[in-house]
């Protein structure tokens, strides 16, 4: 097991910088999820940690060793790829054993480790099958098995669940989290799916345009996003953002050029709420109604902006009607309109 440390890490392709000197410490045993939109640099960062991309500037440390110039195989890390990367011409057993190709263990010890990994991942009955005979989830487990069998200092996951269907993804999320709990190995995990990030991470690293915007535990990122981008990227549905002004502690919708942006999560913006002293009140025309079972999402427009709010499960909100939704005090996030940085709550 090992601590990962990124110090002023830079990646450039020619004159184009894609990672702009990021700093991050991943303590031993932590499960860190890099999340962000496509092209934000999360996979590039992971590949630099793996040694598959050259570092243009700064430093990567694994444990106490600077590994900038160290070959991938010398870093003692295992990586699970988006496309599984399990070899189609080998059986499951051979694929898992391939993780030990350069190991100095005896043949019997290798076989034992493969059996153990197979048992841990529920692959024992499949060990002599070929990857083409397996489902997507089983293939992903083989890829994890091959990574696991080496007892690496850390695991790197590059969007490992993005090729699976929603149900399987949910199941694999639990399996990977459970695996981390049992092995206790440091994990750096890349995804663009904020649900994966929220449910699996000890700490989320939100990235955008080659910068780290925020690195904090999931609920901290959810409750106290540092800027508008993070606020909207984390949480489903996205946080509503409206131009606003604040007078005497009361936030109201702004006309013209605003100095503030007010953000409120759909689950905090309640249709038909009886709150006497709300932090924000919005009134608009309903454009869509989405019953989800335990609750109903109500879409309405305010000053040309689309807003999502929540109504009770069996509400009677009709499309085209006018609704008023209120958010309690303390649940309205304020951002500077110019910098989009967080300014606290109202």
């Amino acid at each position: 097991m090992a601590k990962f440390e990124l110090r002023g890490l830079v990646k450039a392709y020619g004159k184009t910088k894609v990672i702009h000197g990021i700093n991050l410490v991943i303590p031993d045993g932590e499960f860190v999820v890099f999340v962000g939109p496509s092209g934000c640099g999360k996979s590039t960062t992971l590949r630099m940690i793996a040694g598959l991309e050259e570092v243009s500037g700064g430093e990567i440390r694994i444990g106490d060793r600077v590994v900038n110039e160290v070959d991938p195989k010398e870093r003692n890390l295992a990586m699970v790829f988006q496309n599984y990367a399990i070899y189609p011409h080998m059986t499951v057993r051979q694929n898992i054993a391939f993780g030990l190709y350069t190991s100095k263990l005896s043949k019997d010890e290798k076989a034992k480790k493969v059996e153990e990994a197979g048992a841990l991942l529920g692959l024992t009955p499949l060990l002599d099958r070929r990857p083409s005979d397996l489902s997507g989830g089983q293939r992903q487990r083989v890829a994890i098995g091959r990574a696991m069998v080496r007892d690496p200092a850390g695991f790197l996951f590059d969007e490992p669940l993005s090729n699976l269907d929603a149900q399987l993804r949910a199941q694999m999320r639990i399996e990977i989290k459970d695996l981390h709990r049992r092995l206790g190995t440091t994990i750096a995990y890349v995804t663009h799916d904020q649900v994966e990030a929220m449910t699996m991470a000890d700490r989320i690293v939100v990235m955008k345009d080659g910068h780290i915007l925020q690195a904090a535990p999931p609920m901290e990122v959810y409750d106290n996003p540092v800027d508008v981008f993070t606020a909207q990227f984390i949480g489903t549905p996205s946080m509503n953002i409206v131009p606003a002004t604040q007078t005497g502690g009361v936030v109201t919708l702004a006309e013209g050029a605003p100095t503030l942006l007010a953000g409120v999560r759909p689950h905090d913006l309640l249709v038909g709420s009886q709150i006497a002293d709300p932090g924000l009140t919005l009134t608009g025309t309903v454009t869509a109604v989405e019953p989800l079972g335990p609750e109903t999402l109500v879409h309405f427009t305010v000053a040309g902006r689309s807003i999502i709010s929540t109504a009770p499960a069996h509400g009677t909100v009709a499309i085209g009607s006018t609704v008023t939704a209120k958010a309690p005090r303390g649940q309205v996030h304020l951002f500077d309109a110019a910098t989009e940085k967080a300014m606290g709550r109202a």
Binding site: A50, G51, L52, D71, P72, K73, L77, A78, M79, F81, Q82, N83, Y84, A85, Y87, P88, H89, F98, G99, Y101, T102, R146, R150
Partner: protein, 285 residues
Amino acid sequence: MAAIDTTLSPPLPMSRIKPGRIVMWTVLFIGGLLMITPILFMFSTSLKTSSQIYDLRLIPQSPTLANYIEVLTEGQFPRWFLNSSFVAICVTASNIFFDSLVGYTLAKFRFRGRQFVFIAILSTLMIPTEMLVIPWYLMSANFGWLDSYWGIMFPGMMTAFGTFLMKQFFETVPDDFIEAARMDGLNEFTIWWKIAMPLVTPALSALAIFTFLGNWTAFFWPLISTTSKELYTLPVGLTSFAVEQAIQWEMIMTGAAIATIPTLVVFLVLQRYIVRGVMLAGLKG
């Protein structure tokens, strides 16, 4: 449980056969006939005596194996057969190794001058073999390679076509496989050999058969580079049955019939891969 219907489905009614299909089958049939006829006549003539060879009946009146016995027991035919086998196998193995190694390097590594090297290799495809024979000959003469196995083999040990074919196929191998192997601690040569090569088996099979056939039937360069009869390959050796006084057609046909056998074996063994290889080459190329 319902009984399984084992009766054969009735043939398609004539009204459902499209005219286009009839034209296609007719063209294919005529094409097949044109290709198979010389081969059938070759086998037929090999079973005839010298007095019967101008009797153009496909089935000989009194077939004989005497030509086969003579070819295989008298003269140097077995030696030429072995020479051809040795040359074709060595050149094929060399092509599989070097073409795929260079193709892999060009497909999977980024280095300065990569494109230049690739274009340089490709450009050699545009030079006809006949033009290369003189420099090959001069080179062989200077290095003392004339009239040797190496002299016959060296021009074909690596080919631009093979390199191009393998490069195209290696480009279809996902980088994730290679990077996963790098993470597993394999060196670049082992990654090529253990991971990349098994993933391009169809292309390797296609390359193997093209190279083997090309070298098995090669005539011009082996004729020029060899003078000793012991070093003749089969196509060169077969010409010795045609002397100024008489052309022994029945012996030439017998030799050619025997020479066909290895190519048939190679094709039958590898045809599954060849068809796949050719199809993939068409799709990806």
